[in-house]
């Protein structure tokens, strides 16, 4: 989409473009039960601030940063610790079309990761946030954020290998 620096796309387009990604991040961070609340709070806060957002801002990174804060808020409101810990893994819900055993196992494996690994994977790999900004959210150095994401993915790789036949999915 072409837009001059003075023109912002309608917020509707932001929701349409990034809504699914932010929901995935919320689900990976705070679990399926609270994810809808976190998503709603994220987009409401984003819409409130949108007119003042610099025109050249990285919109998905901005949204993921808000989603991080709102997930903490929603988690606190739900009586949890400041940073959401491993949720009970997403149960394989059979009523969800297209959901496979691999999906359920991967979601469960992500839920079982150490918190920093899980959040690093969620923010960097699912949310597209650069490592430097992941480090700002999680504390520590950029390098430690990179390592946490890599360790998390390595653990998920083990789960993936355990479920799929040797030939893998082609």
């Amino acid at each position: 989409m072409t837009s001059t620096p003075t023109t912002k796309v309608p917020f509707e387009a932001i929701v349409a473009l990034h809504g699914a990604t932010v929901l995935r991040v919320c689900r990976a961070v705070i679990g399926p039960n609270e994810a809808d609340d976190a998503w709603s709070e994220t987009f409401l806060a984003a819409m409130r601030a949108y007119p003042e957002l610099p025109a050249d801002a990285n919109v998905p990174a901005w949204l993921v940063t808000i989603a991080h804060r709102k997930s903490i808020d929603v988690g606190r409101a739900a009586g949890r610790r400041a940073l959401p810990v491993a949720e009970p893994p997403e149960q394989p819900s059979l009523d969800q079309p297209g959901r496979t055993e691999l999906d359920a196992d991967l979601a469960a494996a992500l839920g079982a990761l150490a918190t920093k690994q899980r959040l690093a994977v969620a923010y960097h790999y699912l949310g597209g946030l650069p490592y430097a900004e992941v480090a700002e959210l999680l504390g520590g150095t950029t390098e430690s954020a990179r390592r946490a994401a890599a360790d998390g993915m390595a653990n998920l790789r083990t789960t993936y290998r355990g479920v799929t036949p040797e030939s893998g999915i082609t």
């Binding site: 003075t6 929701v15 929901l23 709603s40 997403e90 999906d103 979601a107 992500l110 893998g168």
Partner: protein, 202 residues
């Protein structure tokens, strides 16, 4: 297995279906409206003159746009000229939707919804405010409208006011025709003008 393949698998492990996102979107629209930050709400409506984009601020209906005007381009203009806090949120357009449905069924002769005139200014705004004086089923020439505004020489300006009417159908620029009785132009295309005038004369 590459990292991309693994990432695709992990992304797929959190399937998001359109219906669920739609429900979240509706919840967001209601919350934004309640919080007073839904600056522009819009919907589209299928009518005998094609799909119309309807947009409203908290003040009232601010824009009606034909498909020929390119709805995406119109939303960009609204973002620039009013506010980028725009959501597809049909509830705010319920009243005008009902009135338009009645109009196109021949059961309504004038519109009663509140209007937000912020997209028109100057002489163009003066012209548009006088168009309601042309009754349902009647026609007036550009010259007559210029006279109505006490500015009889401004015939061309009347034409450009009609051509840039932000609220077509509701503000009846389709009732303005040439002095010789021919149709003149129309921002929604001549066929749309023909349909509206035929509807009102039946």
């Amino acid at each position: 297995m590459t990292t991309d393949e693994l990432l695709n698998a992990v992304t797929g492990a959190f399937p998001v279906d359109a219906e669920h996102l739609g429900a979240l979107h509706a919840r967001l629209a209601a919350a934004a409206d309640g919080a007073g930050i839904l600056d522009v709400a819009y919907r589209t409506l299928d009518t005998p003159v094609g799909s119309l984009l309807l947009a409203a601020t908290p003040i009232g209906l601010v824009r009606v746009a034909y498909g020929a005007e390119d709805h995406d381009a119109v939303l960009s203009q609204l973002s620039q000229r009013i506010s980028p806090r725009i959501l597809e949120a049909p509830a705010r357009l319920d009243a005008v939707t009902r009135e338009l449905d009645e109009y196109f069924e021949g059961r309504r002769r004038q519109f009663e919804v509140a209007l937000d005139w912020s997209l028109s200014s100057g002489y163009r705004s003066v012209v548009l405010h006088r168009l309601a004086d042309i009754a349902y089923g009647r026609r007036a020439s550009y010259t007559e409208v210029a006279r109505l505004t006490d500015n009889p020489k401004a015939v061309r300006a009347v034409g450009s006011a009609c051509a840039t009417n932000p609220l077509p159908v509701v503000v009846p620029c389709h009732r303005v025709v040439r002095s010789d009785g021919s149709m003149g132009g129309y921002l929604g295309g001549l066929e749309a003008k023909r349909v509206l005038l035929a509807l009102e004369s039946s």
